[in-house]
Symmetry: C2
Subunit: 380 residues, 2 copies
Amino acid sequence: MKKYQLMAPGPTPVPSNVLLAMAQPMIHHRTPAYEALFTEVRAGLKKLFQTAQDVIPFTCSGTGALEAAVVNTLSAGDTVVVVRAGKFGERWVEIATAYGVNVVELVAPFGETVPAARVQEALAKTPGVKAVLTQHSESSTGVLHDVASYAAVTRGHDAILIVDAVSSLGIADLQMDAWGVDVVVAGSQKGLMLPPGLAFCAVSEKAWRHVAASKLPKYYFDLAKERAANAKNDVRFTPAVSIVVGLREVFRMLEAEGYPNVFRRHDRLARATRAGVEALGLQVFAKTNPSPALTPVLAPRGIDSEQIVAAYSQTHNITIAGGQGEMKGQLFRLGHMGYAADFDVIVALSALEQVLASLGVPVDFGASIRGAQKVFAERV
Amino acid sequence: MKKYQLMAPGPTPVPSNVLLAMAQPMIHHRTPAYEALFTEVRAGLKKLFQTAQDVIPFTCSGTGALEAAVVNTLSAGDTVVVVRAGKFGERWVEIATAYGVNVVELVAPFGETVPAARVQEALAKTPGVKAVLTQHSESSTGVLHDVASYAAVTRGHDAILIVDAVSSLGIADLQMDAWGVDVVVAGSQKGLMLPPGLAFCAVSEKAWRHVAASKLPKYYFDLAKERAANAKNDVRFTPAVSIVVGLREVFRMLEAEGYPNVFRRHDRLARATRAGVEALGLQVFAKTNPSPALTPVLAPRGIDSEQIVAAYSQTHNITIAGGQGEMKGQLFRLGHMGYAADFDVIVALSALEQVLASLGVPVDFGASIRGAQKVFAERV
């Protein structure tokens, strides 16, 4: 028996109590039972997003809600600034381009970030920029972009700041209202430890003004119409009922732990993972601001990272992820977000030692565990 | 104890074995386990849609896939013909209009259908029509439109036939390839007895040529790009993994029953329901071609149908649905699709007798059951 372990950077494991809550008999979405559920979930979303604004759910993957952010706030011919430092930065470019929006790209090499000063400079230099689009946690590189500083720039400008927080919400602190972030997008299958299929857009007052001016066509992802339905505790289209049921369970878990503790837990898991892989002589890929959601690691010289991913799977029944885009073959990515705890990191590192040894890499067995354990032993 | 019974026309009850299959530990969508699952599901979809074409899944509600059908086959300024004889016919008009597509409406009163001759006439009279859009089962009225005859018209014309089969697929026979239907749209939460959150587009060769010419912007719902990913047994975006897992279970159930039997079962449930309500002196709303998916019924004179819906819920813990749009207050709608069997109809009718009596309507107790039982006793 090899226990199956899902340690990829999303989808992430779903706790059994949540799976069983979702396995309850289906309910209709226009009933008192669903209305009570939706009321509780809408309140939980505001806490999660740290906003007084409504958070609008859509039945879709995270990318659907990224598209919603674009088509609701922009018009064809508009110009936006995109922080592009990984595969998900490229996704913003692809979506904007598909809708005839011009993109000024602020490129950083994979593994690095774009300083807020470059955002400021781009806004100063480019007339009429309507929005700045970025990730919070860039899942392809494991870098956390400095959203607070980007927001400090856009707050003094007509442009809105749109943040893909799919792999950071409920993982890293993102203070939407306090920092002045305008649109925050998240999904169900990362920090929220749910199956994929539900995603969210939270929208600031400033961004709602952009919504009013937006001319891009939309129907399914129409934020203003969905907001109006939500204001009556209703939805325009049949929602992903079972995932909404699961979300209530998740909010009860997260709020019992307390968000500051949730963020500290993820930070600890990430630091322990980094300490572990570095103790094996491996190099964490993020050169700056490593994300608390996942840890991409460079494969040892001469080893294709896909071999590491395959050995995790085939020998140990553990799913991790490889490199994406230009990093394919060079990186393996360990997820530690959502339903993730200290000893999951110990498992991931123990498996890594076995995997490396099986590929002929000299391994000081136990070294990665020692590194991680020291982090876990720290007095908080 | 009042047993909860979901008897609305979608979402529909999910069988316990499917709920429990979906409650298995989350798996990643880029693993051998998911690839085997997706291979089986893709094969099952072709059988369900009665097509040799690929059927493309999207993570969204049914309406998302309706939008996908429009944005992938049309361009702004195109003209389409819409069969509008209910709320979902109106939805086609709304989607087309949102994307700058001109609509020639073929209107029939709620409860009636549009004969194929009117479709033929509209195509003859209107130059350059690109598509005919219709429902198969119009859930707001309980009428089944004659898709086979519409297809006989469009087969000899450049226009493609796009069919919203959200509440008919796996319920009523829809022979996509044999009839020559070009785009068929369906969702997970009706005949497929799954939670909402997964929807599908199947596309004919003729329609793929329209896709190649379409200029409407799209990204999340890009059929051609999703088809290319599916051809490698992959998906572009994280799919609704748990619903796909459930879909495999559902296909095993449906294929064990056999689709001809599935269609016969639904036809029988619908005929029994109609016989039952008519035995109580009530009037089935569909004046022609009643749908096997659901039975909308006119409330007795002097009774608001919302009172009937409320009594079902409050007194008997049964969810049915009321009238939509202009029929609000006049209709109640009984669903009998998906995980629905003979004695569910008996329950729905027994409750109806109690509900009517409680509202002061004289009821010949047992009359509706007698009507339904005679249908069930027929030799097949």
